[in-house]
Symmetry: C2
Subunit: 270 residues, 2 copies
Protein backbone atom coordinates (compact mmCIF):
# COMPACT_ATOMS: atom_id res chain seq x y z
CA UNK A 1 0.00 0.00 0.00
CA UNK A 2 1.26 3.47 -0.82
CA UNK A 3 0.87 5.74 2.21
CA UNK A 4 0.83 9.54 2.36
CA UNK A 5 4.43 9.36 3.60
CA UNK A 6 5.45 7.31 0.54
CA UNK A 7 3.83 9.98 -1.60
CA UNK A 8 5.64 12.79 0.24
CA UNK A 9 9.09 11.29 -0.38
CA UNK A 10 8.39 10.04 -3.91
CA UNK A 11 10.87 11.00 -6.64
CA UNK A 12 11.07 10.50 -10.39
CA UNK A 13 14.43 10.14 -12.17
CA UNK A 14 15.17 13.20 -14.31
CA UNK A 15 18.53 12.44 -15.91
CA UNK A 16 22.04 12.02 -14.54
CA UNK A 17 22.07 12.50 -10.76
CA UNK A 18 18.73 14.32 -10.92
CA UNK A 19 15.30 13.62 -9.49
CA UNK A 20 12.07 15.55 -9.43
CA UNK A 21 9.48 15.58 -6.67
CA UNK A 22 6.78 17.79 -5.21
CA UNK A 23 5.77 18.88 -1.73
CA UNK A 24 2.85 16.92 -0.25
CA UNK A 25 0.13 19.15 1.25
CA UNK A 26 -0.55 16.60 4.03
CA UNK A 27 2.94 17.40 5.43
CA UNK A 28 2.67 21.19 5.36
CA UNK A 29 4.38 22.93 8.27
CA UNK A 30 4.06 26.54 9.48
CA UNK A 31 6.13 27.74 6.52
CA UNK A 32 6.64 25.25 3.68
CA UNK A 33 6.85 21.48 4.14
CA UNK A 34 7.80 19.57 7.32
CA UNK A 35 11.61 19.37 7.47
CA UNK A 36 11.44 15.66 8.27
CA UNK A 37 9.90 14.77 4.92
CA UNK A 38 12.36 17.10 3.18
CA UNK A 39 15.24 15.24 4.87
CA UNK A 40 13.71 11.87 3.97
CA UNK A 41 13.17 12.93 0.35
CA UNK A 42 16.83 13.96 0.01
CA UNK A 43 17.85 10.62 1.49
CA UNK A 44 15.52 8.88 -0.94
CA UNK A 45 17.45 10.38 -3.87
CA UNK A 46 20.54 8.59 -2.54
CA UNK A 47 18.72 5.31 -1.89
CA UNK A 48 17.18 5.31 -5.39
CA UNK A 49 20.43 6.25 -7.14
CA UNK A 50 21.85 3.46 -9.35
CA UNK A 51 25.35 4.00 -7.91
CA UNK A 52 24.21 3.61 -4.28
CA UNK A 53 26.33 1.27 -2.15
CA UNK A 54 25.25 0.49 1.38
CA UNK A 55 22.81 1.86 3.93
CA UNK A 56 22.72 5.26 5.66
CA UNK A 57 25.07 6.00 8.55
CA UNK A 58 24.68 9.78 8.70
CA UNK A 59 22.69 12.52 7.01
CA UNK A 60 23.06 16.28 7.43
CA UNK A 61 20.42 18.57 5.97
CA UNK A 62 20.87 22.35 5.85
CA UNK A 63 17.71 24.37 5.35
CA UNK A 64 19.18 27.20 3.29
CA UNK A 65 15.96 28.94 2.29
CA UNK A 66 12.21 28.46 2.26
CA UNK A 67 10.84 25.51 0.27
CA UNK A 68 7.74 26.65 -1.62
CA UNK A 69 4.71 24.42 -2.13
CA UNK A 70 5.01 22.58 -5.43
CA UNK A 71 7.68 20.94 -7.57
CA UNK A 72 11.38 20.69 -6.77
CA UNK A 73 14.48 19.09 -8.20
CA UNK A 74 17.11 17.14 -6.27
CA UNK A 75 20.70 16.69 -7.41
CA UNK A 76 22.50 13.77 -5.75
CA UNK A 77 26.21 13.23 -6.40
CA UNK A 78 28.26 10.31 -5.10
CA UNK A 79 31.46 12.30 -4.49
CA UNK A 80 33.52 9.39 -3.22
CA UNK A 81 33.00 5.63 -3.08
CA UNK A 82 35.35 3.56 -0.94
CA UNK A 83 35.42 -0.13 -0.16
CA UNK A 84 32.90 0.11 2.66
CA UNK A 85 31.65 3.74 2.67
CA UNK A 86 30.13 6.13 0.15
CA UNK A 87 29.88 9.92 0.50
CA UNK A 88 27.12 11.97 -1.12
CA UNK A 89 26.49 15.67 -1.75
CA UNK A 90 22.93 16.81 -2.40
CA UNK A 91 20.95 19.91 -3.21
CA UNK A 92 17.24 20.61 -3.45
CA UNK A 93 16.44 23.34 -5.96
CA UNK A 94 13.36 25.33 -6.89
CA UNK A 95 13.42 27.69 -9.89
CA UNK A 96 17.14 27.10 -10.10
CA UNK A 97 17.76 28.38 -6.57
CA UNK A 98 19.22 26.17 -3.84
CA UNK A 99 16.72 25.76 -0.99
CA UNK A 100 18.38 22.86 0.84
CA UNK A 101 21.87 21.32 0.87
CA UNK A 102 22.74 17.94 2.34
CA UNK A 103 25.48 15.38 2.74
CA UNK A 104 25.03 11.69 3.44
CA UNK A 105 27.33 8.81 4.30
CA UNK A 106 26.38 5.23 3.43
CA UNK A 107 28.19 2.12 4.57
CA UNK A 108 28.17 -1.59 4.13
CA UNK A 109 28.09 -2.73 7.73
CA UNK A 110 29.60 -5.95 9.01
CA UNK A 111 28.95 -7.79 12.24
CA UNK A 112 31.37 -6.61 14.97
CA UNK A 113 31.59 -6.32 18.74
CA UNK A 114 28.61 -4.18 19.72
CA UNK A 115 27.44 -2.63 22.96
CA UNK A 116 24.95 -0.09 24.23
CA UNK A 117 26.24 2.76 26.34
CA UNK A 118 23.14 4.89 26.85
CA UNK A 119 20.04 3.04 27.97
CA UNK A 120 16.49 3.61 26.83
CA UNK A 121 14.99 6.44 28.92
CA UNK A 122 12.10 4.29 30.08
CA UNK A 123 12.00 5.09 33.78
CA UNK A 124 8.37 5.37 34.78
CA UNK A 125 7.40 5.24 31.13
CA UNK A 126 3.84 4.08 30.42
CA UNK A 127 3.17 1.78 27.49
CA UNK A 128 2.00 3.49 24.32
CA UNK A 129 -1.44 1.92 24.72
CA UNK A 130 -1.78 3.54 28.15
CA UNK A 131 -1.27 7.06 26.77
CA UNK A 132 -3.64 9.24 24.79
CA UNK A 133 -2.69 10.23 21.24
CA UNK A 134 -1.90 13.95 21.00
CA UNK A 135 -4.71 16.11 19.74
CA UNK A 136 -3.47 19.57 18.82
CA UNK A 137 -6.19 21.56 17.05
CA UNK A 138 -4.76 24.24 14.82
CA UNK A 139 -1.37 22.49 14.51
CA UNK A 140 0.25 22.38 11.06
CA UNK A 141 -0.88 19.49 8.83
CA UNK A 142 2.25 17.32 9.31
CA UNK A 143 1.48 16.82 13.01
CA UNK A 144 -1.65 14.89 12.01
CA UNK A 145 0.48 12.48 9.97
CA UNK A 146 1.92 11.11 13.20
CA UNK A 147 0.36 9.40 16.13
CA UNK A 148 2.23 10.92 19.10
CA UNK A 149 1.61 9.67 22.63
CA UNK A 150 3.45 11.87 25.11
CA UNK A 151 4.70 10.63 28.46
CA UNK A 152 6.46 13.92 29.32
CA UNK A 153 7.11 17.32 27.79
CA UNK A 154 3.99 17.49 25.66
CA UNK A 155 3.59 20.41 23.28
CA UNK A 156 1.47 23.09 24.94
CA UNK A 157 -2.07 23.30 23.60
CA UNK A 158 -2.12 26.90 24.80
CA UNK A 159 0.90 29.19 24.81
CA UNK A 160 0.51 30.68 28.29
CA UNK A 161 4.04 32.07 28.51
CA UNK A 162 4.81 30.16 31.72
CA UNK A 163 8.48 29.35 31.28
CA UNK A 164 9.40 25.77 32.20
CA UNK A 165 12.68 24.65 33.84
CA UNK A 166 13.51 22.39 30.88
CA UNK A 167 12.16 21.02 27.60
CA UNK A 168 12.73 17.29 27.96
CA UNK A 169 10.14 15.16 26.17
CA UNK A 170 9.37 11.51 25.77
CA UNK A 171 6.77 10.26 23.34
CA UNK A 172 5.74 7.06 21.65
CA UNK A 173 5.34 7.86 17.97
CA UNK A 174 4.50 6.17 14.68
CA UNK A 175 3.04 7.12 11.33
CA UNK A 176 -0.70 7.79 11.70
CA UNK A 177 -1.18 5.70 8.57
CA UNK A 178 0.54 2.42 9.57
CA UNK A 179 3.77 1.85 7.65
CA UNK A 180 6.79 -0.39 8.35
CA UNK A 181 9.77 1.59 9.65
CA UNK A 182 12.58 2.14 7.12
CA UNK A 183 15.47 4.56 6.71
CA UNK A 184 13.19 7.16 5.14
CA UNK A 185 10.62 7.23 7.93
CA UNK A 186 13.42 7.07 10.50
CA UNK A 187 15.01 10.19 8.94
CA UNK A 188 11.68 11.99 9.08
CA UNK A 189 11.12 10.93 12.70
CA UNK A 190 14.45 12.58 13.56
CA UNK A 191 12.74 15.91 12.91
CA UNK A 192 9.37 15.07 14.49
CA UNK A 193 10.18 16.64 17.86
CA UNK A 194 8.51 19.98 18.48
CA UNK A 195 10.96 22.87 18.77
CA UNK A 196 12.29 22.74 22.33
CA UNK A 197 11.71 26.47 22.72
CA UNK A 198 7.93 25.91 22.47
CA UNK A 199 8.06 23.49 25.40
CA UNK A 200 10.45 25.63 27.41
CA UNK A 201 8.92 29.08 26.94
CA UNK A 202 5.34 28.18 26.09
CA UNK A 203 5.35 31.21 23.84
CA UNK A 204 4.68 31.45 20.09
CA UNK A 205 8.22 32.05 18.84
CA UNK A 206 8.95 32.10 15.09
CA UNK A 207 11.55 29.35 14.52
CA UNK A 208 13.30 27.49 11.70
CA UNK A 209 15.80 24.62 11.71
CA UNK A 210 19.02 25.67 9.98
CA UNK A 211 20.89 22.36 10.17
CA UNK A 212 19.76 18.82 11.05
CA UNK A 213 22.02 15.80 11.46
CA UNK A 214 20.71 12.21 11.73
CA UNK A 215 22.86 9.27 12.79
CA UNK A 216 21.51 5.84 11.90
CA UNK A 217 22.43 3.26 14.52
CA UNK A 218 20.05 0.62 13.15
CA UNK A 219 20.74 -1.42 10.06
CA UNK A 220 18.15 -2.57 7.54
CA UNK A 221 17.58 -5.93 9.28
CA UNK A 222 16.77 -4.24 12.60
CA UNK A 223 14.38 -1.84 10.93
CA UNK A 224 12.63 -4.69 9.16
CA UNK A 225 12.10 -6.40 12.53
CA UNK A 226 10.53 -3.26 13.94
CA UNK A 227 7.61 -3.09 11.56
CA UNK A 228 4.75 -0.71 12.25
CA UNK A 229 5.10 -0.50 16.03
CA UNK A 230 5.66 2.75 17.93
CA UNK A 231 9.19 3.98 18.57
CA UNK A 232 10.16 5.91 21.69
CA UNK A 233 11.41 9.41 20.98
CA UNK A 234 13.20 11.53 23.57
CA UNK A 235 14.42 15.07 23.06
CA UNK A 236 16.18 17.83 24.97
CA UNK A 237 18.15 21.04 24.44
CA UNK A 238 21.47 22.23 25.80
CA UNK A 239 21.21 26.01 25.40
CA UNK A 240 19.17 28.84 23.88
CA UNK A 241 21.23 31.89 23.05
CA UNK A 242 20.94 34.98 20.89
CA UNK A 243 18.72 33.58 18.17
CA UNK A 244 19.77 29.92 18.13
CA UNK A 245 19.21 26.81 20.19
CA UNK A 246 20.19 23.19 19.73
CA UNK A 247 18.11 20.10 20.24
CA UNK A 248 19.13 16.46 20.39
CA UNK A 249 16.83 13.50 20.06
CA UNK A 250 17.05 9.74 20.34
CA UNK A 251 14.76 7.21 18.70
CA UNK A 252 14.50 3.85 20.44
CA UNK A 253 12.86 0.60 19.38
CA UNK A 254 10.43 -0.88 21.92
CA UNK A 255 13.01 -3.66 22.45
CA UNK A 256 15.41 -1.10 23.96
CA UNK A 257 17.69 -0.75 20.92
CA UNK A 258 18.77 2.72 19.81
CA UNK A 259 17.66 3.17 16.19
CA UNK A 260 18.76 6.74 15.49
CA UNK A 261 19.97 9.92 17.15
CA UNK A 262 19.65 13.42 15.78
CA UNK A 263 20.97 16.88 16.48
CA UNK A 264 19.84 20.21 15.13
CA UNK A 265 20.44 23.94 15.41
CA UNK A 266 17.32 26.03 15.24
CA UNK A 267 16.90 29.75 14.60
CA UNK A 268 14.45 31.66 16.76
CA UNK A 269 13.32 35.27 16.84
CA UNK A 270 13.19 37.35 20.04
Amino acid sequence: MTTTFDKAVQLAPAGDHRYTGATEPAYTNMVGPFGGTTAATLLNAVLLHPLRQGDPISLTVNFAGPVAEGAFEIEAHPVRTNRSTQHWSLQLLQQGQVAVTATAVLAQRRRTWSAAEATMPDQGLPRASDLQPLSLPGAPAWVGQYEMRFADGEAPTVFDGREQPHAHSRMWIRDAQPRALDFLSLAALCDSFFPRIFIRRRAPTPIGTVSLTCFFHADAAQLAQHGERHVLGSARALAYRNGYFDQSAEIWGDDGQLLASSHQMVYFRE
Copy 2:
Protein backbone atom coordinates in the same frame (compact mmCIF):
# COMPACT_ATOMS: atom_id res chain seq x y z
CA MET B 1 52.40 35.52 17.58
CA THR B 2 51.77 32.79 15.05
CA THR B 3 51.28 29.46 16.79
CA THR B 4 51.56 25.94 15.37
CA PHE B 5 47.75 25.87 15.27
CA ASP B 6 47.69 29.05 13.16
CA LYS B 7 50.14 27.39 10.81
CA ALA B 8 48.03 24.22 10.61
CA VAL B 9 44.89 26.09 9.53
CA GLN B 10 46.66 28.62 7.30
CA LEU B 11 45.34 29.05 3.75
CA ALA B 12 46.40 31.06 0.72
CA PRO B 13 43.83 32.39 -1.78
CA ALA B 14 44.09 30.52 -5.09
CA GLY B 15 41.43 32.11 -7.29
CA ASP B 16 37.64 32.20 -7.16
CA HIS B 17 36.36 30.22 -4.15
CA ARG B 18 39.69 28.38 -3.91
CA TYR B 19 42.35 28.18 -1.25
CA THR B 20 45.51 26.14 -0.88
CA GLY B 21 47.01 24.78 2.31
CA ALA B 22 49.21 21.98 3.57
CA THR B 23 49.04 19.49 6.40
CA GLU B 24 51.10 20.46 9.46
CA PRO B 25 53.32 17.61 10.76
CA ALA B 26 52.82 18.74 14.37
CA TYR B 27 49.14 17.71 14.04
CA THR B 28 49.70 14.26 12.51
CA ASN B 29 47.23 11.62 13.68
CA MET B 30 47.40 7.83 13.32
CA VAL B 31 46.56 8.08 9.63
CA GLY B 32 46.85 11.56 8.08
CA PRO B 33 46.22 14.80 9.93
CA PHE B 34 44.10 15.32 13.09
CA GLY B 35 40.47 15.71 12.00
CA GLY B 36 40.08 18.75 14.25
CA THR B 37 42.58 20.81 12.30
CA THR B 38 41.05 19.60 9.03
CA ALA B 39 37.64 20.81 10.26
CA ALA B 40 39.13 24.12 11.40
CA THR B 41 40.95 24.60 8.08
CA LEU B 42 37.71 24.09 6.13
CA LEU B 43 35.99 26.59 8.40
CA ASN B 44 38.88 29.00 7.85
CA ALA B 45 38.18 28.96 4.10
CA VAL B 46 34.69 30.28 4.90
CA LEU B 47 35.92 32.87 7.41
CA LEU B 48 38.57 34.18 4.98
CA HIS B 49 36.19 34.28 2.01
CA PRO B 50 35.40 37.83 0.81
CA LEU B 51 31.67 37.01 0.60
CA ARG B 52 31.47 35.80 4.21
CA GLN B 53 28.58 37.21 6.25
CA GLY B 54 28.34 36.39 9.93
CA ASP B 55 29.85 33.93 12.36
CA PRO B 56 29.60 30.12 12.46
CA ILE B 57 26.47 28.44 13.81
CA SER B 58 27.07 24.91 12.52
CA LEU B 59 29.71 22.97 10.63
CA THR B 60 29.50 19.41 9.32
CA VAL B 61 32.65 17.73 8.04
CA ASN B 62 32.56 14.37 6.24
CA PHE B 63 35.85 12.51 6.06
CA ALA B 64 35.39 10.88 2.66
CA GLY B 65 38.88 9.48 2.19
CA PRO B 66 42.38 9.64 3.66
CA VAL B 67 44.12 13.02 3.64
CA ALA B 68 47.76 12.53 2.63
CA GLU B 69 50.58 14.55 4.17
CA GLY B 70 51.29 17.61 2.04
CA ALA B 71 49.41 20.14 -0.03
CA PHE B 72 45.64 20.34 -0.50
CA GLU B 73 43.10 22.60 -2.11
CA ILE B 74 39.83 23.78 -0.59
CA GLU B 75 36.82 24.93 -2.59
CA ALA B 76 34.35 27.04 -0.60
CA HIS B 77 31.05 28.08 -2.20
CA PRO B 78 28.46 30.36 -0.59
CA VAL B 79 25.41 28.55 -1.99
CA ARG B 80 22.84 30.82 -0.42
CA THR B 81 22.98 34.14 1.41
CA ASN B 82 19.88 35.32 3.27
CA ARG B 83 19.26 38.37 5.40
CA SER B 84 20.70 36.80 8.56
CA THR B 85 22.13 33.40 7.51
CA GLN B 86 24.60 32.15 4.92
CA HIS B 87 25.01 28.54 3.75
CA TRP B 88 28.30 27.13 2.48
CA SER B 89 29.38 23.97 0.64
CA LEU B 90 33.03 22.93 0.84
CA GLN B 91 35.40 20.29 -0.45
CA LEU B 92 39.01 19.48 0.33
CA LEU B 93 40.82 17.97 -2.64
CA GLN B 94 44.18 16.32 -3.19
CA GLN B 95 45.33 15.43 -6.71
CA GLY B 96 41.85 16.32 -7.92
CA GLN B 97 40.19 13.75 -5.67
CA VAL B 98 37.71 14.75 -2.96
CA ALA B 99 39.05 13.75 0.48
CA VAL B 100 36.65 15.77 2.65
CA THR B 101 33.25 17.42 2.12
CA ALA B 102 31.68 19.95 4.44
CA THR B 103 28.78 22.32 4.91
CA ALA B 104 28.68 25.35 7.15
CA VAL B 105 26.02 27.80 8.29
CA LEU B 106 26.93 31.33 9.34
CA ALA B 107 24.62 33.83 10.96
CA GLN B 108 24.49 37.39 12.12
CA ARG B 109 23.25 36.93 15.66
CA ARG B 110 21.17 39.45 17.55
CA ARG B 111 20.53 39.74 21.24
CA THR B 112 17.43 37.74 22.26
CA TRP B 113 15.95 35.96 25.25
CA SER B 114 18.58 33.39 26.22
CA ALA B 115 18.70 30.55 28.73
CA ALA B 116 20.78 27.54 29.61
CA GLU B 117 19.08 24.18 29.77
CA ALA B 118 21.97 21.80 30.38
CA THR B 119 24.33 22.79 33.16
CA MET B 120 28.10 22.49 33.18
CA PRO B 121 29.00 18.93 34.30
CA ASP B 122 31.15 20.19 37.14
CA GLN B 123 30.04 17.92 39.97
CA GLY B 124 33.15 17.01 41.96
CA LEU B 125 35.28 18.55 39.24
CA PRO B 126 38.77 19.62 40.33
CA ARG B 127 40.23 22.87 39.03
CA ALA B 128 42.53 22.52 36.04
CA SER B 129 45.49 23.52 38.20
CA ASP B 130 44.76 20.62 40.54
CA LEU B 131 45.03 18.03 37.76
CA GLN B 132 48.08 16.67 35.99
CA PRO B 133 48.49 17.30 32.26
CA LEU B 134 48.11 14.09 30.26
CA SER B 135 51.33 12.43 29.26
CA LEU B 136 50.75 9.76 26.66
CA PRO B 137 54.06 8.47 25.26
CA GLY B 138 53.67 7.04 21.79
CA ALA B 139 50.47 9.02 21.09
CA PRO B 140 50.10 10.66 17.67
CA ALA B 141 51.72 14.10 17.35
CA TRP B 142 48.45 16.12 17.58
CA VAL B 143 47.88 15.01 21.19
CA GLY B 144 51.01 16.92 22.19
CA GLN B 145 49.52 20.11 20.73
CA TYR B 146 46.97 20.15 23.53
CA GLU B 147 47.30 20.39 27.25
CA MET B 148 44.65 17.93 28.50
CA ARG B 149 43.94 17.57 32.21
CA PHE B 150 41.54 14.69 32.77
CA ALA B 151 39.12 14.55 35.69
CA ASP B 152 37.45 11.32 34.48
CA GLY B 153 37.62 8.90 31.57
CA GLU B 154 41.28 9.41 30.75
CA ALA B 155 42.68 7.68 27.67
CA PRO B 156 44.30 4.41 28.70
CA THR B 157 48.10 4.51 28.70
CA VAL B 158 48.02 0.74 28.25
CA PHE B 159 45.36 -1.13 26.29
CA ASP B 160 44.65 -3.92 28.74
CA GLY B 161 41.37 -5.01 27.14
CA ARG B 162 39.41 -4.54 30.39
CA GLU B 163 36.05 -3.36 29.10
CA GLN B 164 34.61 -0.40 31.02
CA PRO B 165 30.90 0.19 31.78
CA HIS B 166 30.95 3.53 29.92
CA ALA B 167 33.22 6.01 28.16
CA HIS B 168 32.27 9.30 29.79
CA SER B 169 35.15 11.77 30.04
CA ARG B 170 35.72 15.21 31.47
CA MET B 171 38.89 17.15 30.81
CA TRP B 172 40.20 20.67 31.04
CA ILE B 173 41.89 21.41 27.74
CA ARG B 174 43.67 24.24 25.93
CA ASP B 175 46.26 24.64 23.22
CA ALA B 176 49.67 23.60 24.51
CA GLN B 177 51.04 26.74 22.88
CA PRO B 178 48.84 29.43 24.49
CA ARG B 179 46.42 30.98 22.00
CA ALA B 180 43.19 32.93 22.48
CA LEU B 181 40.10 30.83 21.75
CA ASP B 182 38.38 31.60 18.45
CA PHE B 183 35.98 29.78 16.12
CA LEU B 184 38.86 27.89 14.50
CA SER B 185 40.31 26.49 17.70
CA LEU B 186 36.80 25.79 18.99
CA ALA B 187 36.08 23.72 15.85
CA ALA B 188 39.30 21.77 16.37
CA LEU B 189 38.50 21.22 20.06
CA CYS B 190 35.21 19.61 18.98
CA ASP B 191 37.28 16.72 17.63
CA SER B 192 39.85 16.59 20.47
CA PHE B 193 38.07 13.84 22.40
CA PHE B 194 39.68 10.42 22.12
CA PRO B 195 37.50 7.86 20.34
CA ARG B 196 35.03 6.62 22.95
CA ILE B 197 35.72 3.02 21.94
CA PHE B 198 39.31 3.36 23.25
CA ILE B 199 38.01 4.36 26.68
CA ARG B 200 35.23 1.77 26.70
CA ARG B 201 37.10 -1.29 25.39
CA ARG B 202 40.67 -0.39 26.28
CA ALA B 203 41.67 -2.23 23.12
CA PRO B 204 43.59 -0.94 20.05
CA THR B 205 40.72 -0.72 17.57
CA PRO B 206 41.31 0.83 14.13
CA ILE B 207 38.87 3.77 13.88
CA GLY B 208 38.06 6.73 11.66
CA THR B 209 35.49 9.53 11.99
CA VAL B 210 33.14 9.52 9.01
CA SER B 211 31.07 12.60 9.88
CA LEU B 212 31.55 15.36 12.46
CA THR B 213 29.08 18.12 13.28
CA CYS B 214 29.95 21.17 15.42
CA PHE B 215 27.35 23.57 16.81
CA PHE B 216 28.64 26.95 17.92
CA HIS B 217 26.70 28.29 20.87
CA ALA B 218 29.19 31.07 21.61
CA ASP B 219 29.44 34.24 19.61
CA ALA B 220 32.64 36.13 18.83
CA ALA B 221 32.32 38.42 21.88
CA GLN B 222 32.09 35.47 24.27
CA LEU B 223 35.08 33.79 22.68
CA ALA B 224 37.11 36.98 22.96
CA GLN B 225 36.32 37.10 26.69
CA HIS B 226 37.56 33.55 27.12
CA GLY B 227 41.11 34.16 26.02
CA GLU B 228 43.74 31.48 26.61
CA ARG B 229 42.14 29.79 29.60
CA HIS B 230 41.21 26.09 29.69
CA VAL B 231 37.78 24.98 28.53
CA LEU B 232 35.95 22.02 30.04
CA GLY B 233 35.29 19.22 27.58
CA SER B 234 32.90 16.38 28.28
CA ALA B 235 32.20 13.45 25.98
CA ARG B 236 30.11 10.29 25.87
CA ALA B 237 28.70 7.75 23.43
CA LEU B 238 25.20 6.36 22.97
CA ALA B 239 25.87 3.06 21.16
CA TYR B 240 28.51 0.96 19.41
CA ARG B 241 27.11 -1.33 16.76
CA ASN B 242 28.34 -3.27 13.75
CA GLY B 243 31.24 -1.06 12.78
CA TYR B 244 29.99 2.38 13.88
CA PHE B 245 29.57 4.32 17.09
CA ASP B 246 28.53 7.88 17.87
CA GLN B 247 30.08 10.31 20.27
CA SER B 248 28.80 13.63 21.54
CA ALA B 249 30.84 16.29 23.27
CA GLU B 250 30.26 19.61 24.98
CA ILE B 251 32.77 22.41 25.41
CA TRP B 252 32.16 24.73 28.34
CA GLY B 253 33.80 27.98 29.35
CA ASP B 254 35.10 28.11 32.91
CA ASP B 255 32.31 30.62 33.63
CA GLY B 256 29.73 27.86 33.06
CA GLN B 257 28.66 28.96 29.56
CA LEU B 258 28.29 26.34 26.82
CA LEU B 259 30.59 27.34 23.96
CA ALA B 260 30.07 24.45 21.51
CA SER B 261 28.61 20.98 21.21
CA SER B 262 29.64 18.33 18.72
CA HIS B 263 28.42 15.00 17.44
CA GLN B 264 30.19 12.44 15.31
CA MET B 265 29.82 8.97 13.82
CA VAL B 266 32.97 6.91 13.88
CA TYR B 267 33.86 3.76 11.96
CA PHE B 268 35.57 0.95 13.84
CA ARG B 269 36.86 -2.45 12.80
CA GLU B 270 36.06 -5.67 14.68
